[in-house]
């Protein structure tokens, strides 16, 4: 994957925003990969969790936003509780989702109006509410 690095990106508002929303120091990560090793969703991800964290460090907003990784996170917290540096990776992923879902120019990742009557009848409320909490703005 070819990416363009620049000091502007590293010092960008995007990096500051993610740190502020997650309450995490993004530079704490030393890329050991334990989060990616334990993540039960990593098989389906185009970028591994540790790669996403590295990309946040480098301010690569477009690459992260165009990846499906943060939308495959189920907030199971396996990564966060195992991180040897105490980084709450799940909170960083939440911040990354919020950067997108709070952007008025972007669509919801899941559109509640498209949920069918059959789904509403069948699914437990906790599934619907948690899904909308994570995937809509």
């Amino acid at each position: 994957m070819k990416v363009e690095l620049s000091s502007e990106k590293v010092k960008s508002d995007f990096v500051k925003k993610v740190e502020e929303l997650s309450g995490q120091n993004i530079l704490s990560c030393y890329q050991c990969g334990k989060c990616s090793a334990g993540c039960p969703s990593s098989y389906a991800m185009d970028l591994l969790p540790s790669q996403v964290i590295r990309m946040v460090q480098l301010g690569l907003q477009d690459e992260i936003v165009n990846s499906k990784t943060v939308w495959l996170c189920a907030s199971c917290l396996t990564c966060s509780v195992r991180c040897p540096r105490g980084v709450d990776i799940a909170a960083i992923f939440e911040a990354l989702r919020l950067v997108v879902t709070r952007d008025k120019d972007k669509l919801n990742y899941v559109e509640p109006s498209e949920i069918t009557a059959e789904q509403l009848e069948e699914l437990p409320q906790i599934a619907l509410i948690s899904n909308f909490r994570k995937f809509t703005g």
Partner: protein, 293 residues
């Protein structure tokens, strides 16, 4: 003994089999679970963003209701409610700045809430209030010979500050099942995530997870799986409909709420378990082993 309990939305509808069996079994153990009056949805997931205080109000208002009604403890049986209520409670107890904002926001409530109420999962009540030794004495129908696979999912044990047991290797469900006389399977998949809310928009993810977790239980010789979370239950039980279509080697396994097995072991009427709400019917297994008539 009376304890306040917070049901949550799903326990009142799709997971009535969890609520009814829990209330009946606890009554048998001389604990009356009193539903908190005027409760609201807990929000189902803890808001992890630092600026998202608004989503902390729903869980905290429920705890405020408990304090207002004279309680200092509240019991939940849904793992998601447990996690959300307990994390919000942890936040208001440990973050002075946010506590002030949250207390100020709810200043028109009849009482102020600053984290005084203790949030307990029903499994903790069974372990710490009833006691597994005492529970063992109350068992009328020991689940002898029943091989059960305990499944915790995520929300009972993570993160560490709110978990009810060891983070990587919890044993509370195993200890509970042993007290009921059952045989317990050791399964490394017991704290793996079921796919959670992806069941709404990415069923294929849940099917993959479900197959991995359920197949592990089957291969280890489990007769059934035992869990506490209504979302895990939906993904592990109801999604077997999709799993058997994709994986022909998988033929299905019954899924119990821990409270249903408790009710059986205490010798209660089968009707309190509402097995009609379980997708994979557990009755053939229970009848075959003579646990129910």
């Amino acid at each position: 003994m009376k304890l306040f309990y917070y049901p949550g939305c799903t326990v009142k509808t799709k997971a009535k089999n969890l609520e009814a069996s829990a209330l009946a079994a606890m009554k048998e153990l001389d604990i009356e679970l009193v539903e908190v009056a005027s409760w609201n949805c807990c929000g189902t997931v803890f808001g992890m963003s630092t600026d998202d205080l608004l989503h902390q109000l729903a869980p905290l208002r429920n705890l405020l209701r408990v304090k207002e009604q004279g309680g200092d403890k509240v019991v939940t049986m849904c793992s998601m409610c447990y996690n959300t209520l307990k994390r919000a409670n942890h936040l208001i107890r440990t973050d002075e700045e946010k506590k002030k904002l949250l207390v100020d926001f709810m200043s028109e409530e009849p009482v102020h809430y600053e984290g005084e109420v203790e949030v307990l999962h029903l499994l903790e009540v069974l372990r710490d209030v009833v006691g597994f030794e005492k529970l063992k004495e109350k068992v009328k129908v020991p689940l002898q010979g029943l091989k059960l696979d305990p499944y915790y999912g995520c929300m009972l044990t993570r993160p560490q500050e709110i978990g009810l047991d060891n983070l990587e290797n919890p044993t509370i469900l195993e200890d509970f099942l042993v007290a009921l006389g059952a045989e317990v399977i050791k399964d490394p998949m017991k704290t793996e995530c079921c796919g959670s809310y992806h069941t709404v928009n990415a069923v294929e993810v849940v099917v993959e997870r479900g197959y991995g977790i359920l197949n592990s239980a089957v291969k280890k010789g489990a007769d059934a799986m035992v869990l506490s979370c209504p979302l895990c239950d939906y993904n592990m039980d109801h999604r077997q409909r999709e799993i058997v279509k994709k994986y022909v080697d998988f033929t299905g396994i019954p899924i119990f709420y821990f409270t249903q097995l408790l009710a059986i072991a205490l010798g209660l009427e089968t009707s309190v378990n509402h097995f009609d709400l379980n997708y994979v019917d557990p009755l053939p297994l229970l009848k075959k082993r003579n646990f129910v008539a």
